[in-house]
């Protein structure tokens, strides 16, 4: 199993896989110069990682302060892909983490959730936020 760690820039999020707890963190802001190019390694890695997943749980924590419209499309693709894996019996959960003061972040999470049927998609208020 390979790890995954991508440093943040002003326009791209920090992406990190915590192997011990099987948690993928996506954190920061997302408005890359080329969105599909930026997220391609993540998608490749996920296919590999989820392919070898057995009964153990796999969690993705997403805390994005800002993302542009093309990132929104990529995120939807990501969730659709995760939903397919979960329908094949993989134990996957997404935590959409929002700041209490940031109503729009919660709304974005709700809108993703509305378009998903079987994927476990939790809206989680940021601790201390």
């Amino acid at each position: 199993m390979k790890g995954l760690a991508i440093d943040a820039t002003k326009s791209t999020p920090w992406i990190y896989f915590d192997q011990e707890n099987n948690i993928l963190e996506i954190n920061g802001e997302s408005y890359p110069e080329n969105t599909s190019e930026f997220y391609e390694p993540l998608f490749k890695w996920l296919d590999m990682r989820l392919g070898e997943l057995h009964e153990e749980s796999f969690t993705i924590n997403i805390a994005l302060k800002y993302f542009n419209s093309s990132s929104s499309k990529i995120l939807m693709n990501l969730f659709e892909r995760l939903e397919k894996y979960s329908e094949r019996g993989k134990n996957i959960a997404v935590n959409w983490i929002y700041d209490k003061a940031d109503e729009s972040c919660l709304e974005y999470g709700e809108e993703f959730k509305e378009d998903l049927t079987t994927l476990k998609f939790n809206l989680v208020e940021k601790a201390g936020g």
Partner: protein, 184 residues
């Protein structure tokens, strides 16, 4: 000789506090976006409003870059015009405005206009449904271009999108877009 004071007076008179005219790179977008956020934060603008203005700014700057790229493949404009545009942010009464303009192929005008007119005719619920439909559709990201960006802006803006096409010659037109966000 250029009268910079006249230019400055014009910008001030129009309430413009951020102005750029030229080639837009991703790094420039990030830097100017940062400057914009810092200015609004210094003025203690509500964080949701700052986010809206910033979001309009990013979508419009990225539109300029993308449209020019798509123009390149269609070869309507000269290489000197790739990713070139003008972007302004300012105050207009009770609103902030983010406005941008760039050359597009005259052949593309009707396609862009149709898209914007369709979006302009929608109310907030219709926009939400359309946004979700476009986001879900299987089209590859690159071919979507500004489609989702326009809908995103229309959803976030507090007034309908304003747009205009001015024909420069039979091959090129100048496209301007203005979005307004309430100052709260």
């Amino acid at each position: 000789m250029i009268k910079l004071l006249d230019l400055k007076k014009y910008l001030d008179d129009k309430g413009i506090f951020l102005y750029f005219n030229g080639r837009i790179s991703h790094d420039l977008l990030v830097q100017l976006g940062d400057t914009l956020k810092q200015k609004l934060n210094r003025e203690e603008v509500e964080s949701q409003t700052v986010l809206k203005v910033f979001s309009m700014f990013v979508e419009q700057m990225q539109n300029v870059v993308r449209y020019s790229v798509s123009s390149e493949t269609n070869c309507p404009t000269s290489p000197a015009d790739f990713q070139v545009g003008v972007v302004t942010v300012g105050y207009d009464g009770n609103y902030y405005f983010v406005a941008s303009g760039n050359k597009v192929a005259t052949a593309e005008v009707s396609r862009i206009r149709e898209k914007l007119e369709k979006i302009s005719s929608m109310d907030k619920d219709q926009l939400k449904a359309y946004y979700k439909e476009m986001r879900k559709s299987e089209t590859p990201e690159d071919s979507v271009g500004a489609g989702l960006g326009f809908i995103e802006m229309a959803r976030k803006a507090d007034r309908p999108l304003e747009f205009e096409f001015s024909e420069l010659n039979d091959r090129e037109s100048f496209f301007s877009l203005i979005t307004l966000i309430s100052r709260g």
